[in-house]
Every structure is written in structure tokens, then in C-alpha cells.
Symmetry: C3
Subunit: 285 residues, 3 copies
């Protein structure tokens, strides 16, 4: 019986990234759907839960993706709303790669480090990766701040994290490299999670801050978010700081992504979300 | 050479149900297309008939699905319109699972019973499943009626059945559980084919009607169409009547669906429509 | 590791033809995307280049298709624009089957013939197949003309060929069978590449022209472009001229299409466009 992954994407096109990774995770057939919302997902869930017998259903799973983590969260909720009794299949949420990227980045940069009490700043942290990274660092005990160009967006993200994960994160407005370098002035951990091609920090700015122990950048398209690092950095020492680039921790991100997808089919009913994906990342880091 | 099923769906998203069942029927690759109409189907048919040699074409087939049986009928006609000489592949029509659900339900409830001359009432019978069930029961010799909340829709369905299958079915208006229980007052066979989550009969109503021998309910989402039955009922005796629930005869429905898809690839040119699917259901029941 | 082909189609539905041929070329999984433009292709390219390690990426490739060769050209350019360093995968352009059809037609009709200095007329040659056939014949040294019903479209195609392939082709206005038979009055080679179901020449017209040595017709839907030939013609002698029909050289077209797709996965970085596809066709003819 084939392992089928129903890939529900909230964007107009299903993510090619997610489909490729699913195949590399051992899925036999991916069924990608685009433009999926809580309003039209019922038919896909029924296709997952009504087509195979109770035991065979372990070979069917659902993946929720797309560029918006907010839309993904809502869709995951809608999928589970259509489950009843044992009419359900394992499901994973990784909109925009947010959960796996955040999990891999945090697992890599904090590996062997006790983050409790340390100050961690997530630069341009209002996107899905940034929010999740903030949540993971906070859950591990760090004092976390995230920055945004806009006060309103910073606040909204902090509210979201409070509400969804029950954690407190400080929101900082930082619209240029100067204000961002001030935001990291006493930080030990810096994680840049900005948009592709936007430089968030000059090289000189972070290199001079003595408190910084480790930096990571989730950006895989040049120019990078943190100038003076490289996307291939794998714990490379630069100006005395441990640096991680998107490609550098991307190997772990892909490994985590594949491992979680593979585990959707191990016979247990699973919901892979931020916390369980982060646990997997720490296990594999 | 891979067995390819070109899944033409008339809805904005291709049915996940149909794709999963196709894989379970042994198809190697399903090629799902959404939003297919007689006006845009030509390219898909050409992709089916012009890509493989005369002998290899036995490994290509077309499946027509979607929520509207009417749109499916029109699409099936359009597909066949683009066939010429031996440039054609086997094709199956099962919009909304209508043909396989009706076939399995009727095959199950009438198994071992001579339905000739018996009165069969299809409740909320204007949808694809209801219409097909009515046609199958009538072809086997039952005196068939279907109910609808609206006179016009009841009549339209009866006209359709007369025109397409050459059978006479009585149309009854029944907008509430009372009028529906009057409609089944002298029936031996009751088949509920209403919308998901709409209760069509109270438990007390059908249990008191002595003529009723067997009831089936195509609804797989609670609340069921026939209160007092369960969707897992597999010929279960309730108040002296044999009861079939959607999950109960769903095993046969899936078996029929898979068997028909598998047979599309057996080397013969086949058109699976209501009659041939019902024949397969009787064979497998 | 599975061979994955990311099929980027510029039309509202991905070409079933291209998907089927890809599977027959040995691709393990085709990932079809519809409605792809330079503006939305980035995510698909990233899915191709960021998901697998440098060595494993040889098992990922991109195919650009759709009904418009112009849109396909622009999309191919956009795909390559997102490549950097060794973050790239092999790619093939065959919008509307234009490259493979033109390549196979020209390779078949000119097989064993020295076309240098000969006059070749591509009838209704402003579409993708016609333009490419004109380019291939011109590159081999023929004096090429293409016809169109409209002066403007003929000129636009000649300009395109001059700009893209650096070749000179004569544009002729020919709106009816009479003017088209005048256009081929002193030709040795005639290739009809008109729309499906449009007759471009009467049988009597071309049969009486003594200079003509070979005719090919890319039309696979009756009525054919060149009356008096048949789509199954495989170098058949008719009125002393060698005739090729679309099905006749379609075997080679499919062979070329499959061979190019297969070669996308041979470990070299490849860009299959008109010239390289034509080279493959000559090799296989």
C-alpha cells in the first residue's frame, strides 16, 4: 500500500520545496492541492479519512504548507475539525518552512549552550520563522526580543506568541541597521529571519558587540541578512562569534523536515507542530 | 510502462478521494486536473491518445469526477467526442462517487432479494447517488419513487432518468420528516441519499412501518439521514428491518471503485458508467 | 533517490502530453505546475535547487511547457535568472511541443538530403513549431520562407528568428490555398505547421509543382494541413514526392522528447532548447 501525503497549500501554487522533501522522506505519492482554506478543505480531509480501512490509514497523512503561517495554523485547525473517532490521519504544519527552519536554526545555534537567562534577539522576527524561533528560544528559557520595522507588527507578533505559546517576548522597533545594532547591544544570541535579499546588519556592527556568542541567518538568497557571514557557515568562528548560515543549518532543517514527514507514517497518530518539530530538531542536531 | 490515470475533475480542486482510490487500485501515477469542462478537455484527451503507441495505450486511462454528475456526464461525452479510430483510452465516470455509491448501496440492500414489483423510495433522491440508485432499482424491476423538498427538482430528476436511462420513476415532494414517513408508508426498500448532516427520518417513523424490509443510508457524516441507524451498520437488524450504513456498504463501494479503475487497464477498451459499475457491484456484493 | 521533473506550464492547466512523455522517459515523479510566469516561478526554482545536496541535484530537473513558445522562452530565462553558483538543475524548453515537433519533422524530411541552397517553405509558420522548423532549416543552409495570413505576423516571426537565432527568413503573406501554392512554386521542401483542422493546400496544388521533393505536415487532427497526404505517412511517395505526416514523424518526435527528458538526469548540467533538441533529433532520425 502506497504512502500518500496530501499536501494542502494555502498559496495559489503548492510549494515545490515541500513536495520534493516529501519524496525524499520516502513518501510514495504526494497529492498537492493549492489555494486550500478552512472553507474548502473538507473534501481533502474526507479523501484522507474515508478511503482506507482503520489499519491502512497509517499510510495516509496530511501536510499543511504555504507562505502564511497564520493561514496554515487556521487550516490545521480546520483539518482536525473534520476528524472524528478514528477517522483521522497524522498531520504536519510547516508553512513557509517556518517550523523546520526555526527549529533547525535554534537547535544548531543553541547546541551545547545553556540558553537560560541569555538574551536572544530575533531580527525581523515577525514572520513565521522568526515567531517560531522566538517561541523556541523562550521555551528553553532565554529572554527573547524580536524586532520589526513597525511597532504595530512587533506588538501583533508578541501578542500572538503570548496567546498561542503562552510565552512573553519583547517587541522592538528597529527600522535600520543602526537601530538593529542597538537592539542586539547586550545580546548573546542573534537570529536574523528577515525577507530574502534584505541586509539587516552591517558586518562592523555585530563584530564589535562583545556580548554576542552566536549568530544565525535564515536567509538563503544573497545579499544575506547579516553582512560578513556566509550562507554556508556551519558554526564558523567569525570575529570570535559562532556563525550559522541558512545553507549551513539547512542540512539539519532538511533532515528534520524529512524525519518528521517520515514519522507521519510510523503508525502512531501524530500532529507535528512547532513544539514537536523542535523536539525532533534537538534530537537530530 | 507505468499505468497512468488522467483524472479529470469538474470542480476547482480534484477529488482527493478519487486519487487515493486510484492508487489503491494499482494505478502507478494519477494525473489530476481540476476545473475541466467540455471546452478545455481537448488537450488532456490528446495527452492520453497521442503519447503512446496502439498497444501501450492500454496503460493509459481517463477518470471523470467532480461534485456534479451532470457536469461529469457532459465531460464524458466531450472526452469521447475527441476519440477517433483507435485513438482512445478506457474511461470511467463516477462524479461525486455517485455511480459507485449507488451501485454498492443497491447491490447490498437488494442482495438475495427479488426486487421486482417491490416499492423502493429514494429519500432526497435528486442528487447523483439518488438518481443512480433510483435507476438501478428500477432497472431491476422495482417500482421506484424519489423524494425532494421541491416539486421542480423532483420532476427534473424524473425527466432526467426517463431521458437517460429510459426508466419511469415517481417524483414526490417531501419537505419534512412527516411527509417523508408518509412517502415510505408502503415501501419495502428505503434508500436515503440526502446531503451530509441532514436528518431525513426520525427513528420512530420508519420503525413503525411494517412494510419496510431494508433501509440504507448513504450519509457518512453524522447526524445520519435515517436516525436510529448507524453508519457502520452492515445488514444489521433493527426493529426487524435490515439496515445498511454508509460505512457498512462503503467497503463494497470502495471495492467496486477500485475494481473498475483496475479494469480500465486490462487491455480492453471500456466505458464504466452507471450500468457497468452496477454490474460490477452485483458481481462483488 | 527519485528522479523528479518539475513541469512548469504557462497555461491554466499543465500539459498532459508532457507529463505522460516524462513518465515514459523514466521520470519517477512529475510535479506539474500551471499558470507559471516569470513573476511567480521563484518558489518552484527554489524548490528545485535548495532541497537536495550538490550531487543529488542531478535527480531533479525542470521542464518548461505550455501553448505559447514566447511565454516559454521568457519563463526559461526567468528560471535561469534564479540559478546561482551550482544551485541549478538541468532544464528543457518545449512549449507546445514546438522544439521536439520541429526538430523531428525537419530531421525526418531532410534525412539523407543536403538542404544547403534549397528553398524551404514553412506554411502557416508563425507558431512555435513553424518558427523553430524555419530556424533549423535555415541553420542547415536552406533558403527559408514562412507564410502567414497576416503581413504583420509574418514580419514579427522573421524579426524574432533574426533576433533569437541570428538567421534570415523571408516572410510571405498567403491567406488562401492559391496564394500558398504560389508561395511553394519553386520550393524543394514544404513543411505545414498550421492550426489543427485547417487545410492549407489542396491536393492538386502541390502535386503539380515539379520542384517539390518532400512535404511534411505537423497537423495530427483531421482535416490535415496538406490535403492528399495522410497523418500516418512515413516517407510515403505521393505524386513523386516524399510525404511525412504528423503521426509518421510523431514516433521520432516522441523518441526525441523522451530522450531529451531522460538526458536531463544524466548528471551533466544541460539546457535543452531548439538547437540541442534538433541535434538530438538528427542523432536519432
Amino acid at each position: 500500500m502506497k504512502k500518500l501525503l496530501i499536501q494542502l497549500d494555502t498559496d495559489p501554487h503548492p510549494s515545490a520545496f515541500d513536495t520534493v522533501v516529501a519524496y525524499d522522506a520516502g513518501v510514495d505519492q504526494v497529492l498537492p492541492y493549492a489555494g486550500i482554506t478552512p472553507g474548502n478543505v473538507q473534501a481533502m480531509v474526507e479523501g484522507a479519512i474515508f478511503t482506507r480501512g482503520p489499519i491502512d490509514k497509517r499510510h495516509t497523512a496530511i501536510f499543511v504548507g504555504g507562505s502564511s503561517m497564520e493561514a496554515g495554523e487556521a487550516l490545521l485547525k480546520a483539518v482536525q475539525h473534520h476528524y472524528f473517532a478514528n477517522f483521522r490521519v497524522s498531520v504536519m504544519l510547516d508553512s513557509n518552512g517556518g517550523n523546520t527552519t526555526a527549529a533547525a536554526g535554534v537547535a544548531r545555534l543553541s547546541k551545547g549552550m545553556d540558553v537560560r537567562g541569555k538574551r536572544a534577539v530575533v531580527l525581523a522576527g515577525t514572520g513565521p520563522v522568526g515567531q517560531r524561533a522566538a517561541a523556541m528560544l523562550a521555551q528553553d528559557g532565554a529572554r527573547v526580543a524580536l524586532t520589526s520595522r513597525h511597532q504595530e507588527r512587533a506588538q501583533k507578533s508578541c501578542d500572538f506568541l503570548q496567546e498561542h505559546f503562552g510565552i512573553k517576548v519583547e517587541g522592538l522597533v528597529a527600522a535600520d541597521t543602526e537601530s538593529r545594532s542597538r537592539a542586539i547591544a547586550d545580546a548573546q544570541i542573534v537570529f536574523a529571519t528577515g525577507a530574502a535579499g534584505v541586509e539587516l546588519l552591517d558586518a562592523g556592527q555585530w563584530q564589535e558587540i562583545r556580548s554576542i556568542e552566536v549568530l544565525a541567518d535564515a536567509n538563503a538568497t544573497p545579499p544575506l541578512g547579516i553582512a560578513g557571514t556566509e550562507m554556508g557557515d556551519k558554526g564558523k568562528l567569525r570575529a570570535g562569534k559562532v556563525c550559522w548560515g541558512a545553507i549551513g543549518f539547512g542540512t539539519l532543517k532538511l533532515k528534520v523536515h524529512r524525519a518528521c514527514v517520515a514519522q507521519l507514517f510510523d503508525g502512531e497518530f501524530r500532529v507535528f507542530n512547532a513544539a514537536s518539530i523542535y523536539a525532533k530538531a534537538r534530537e537530530l542536531a
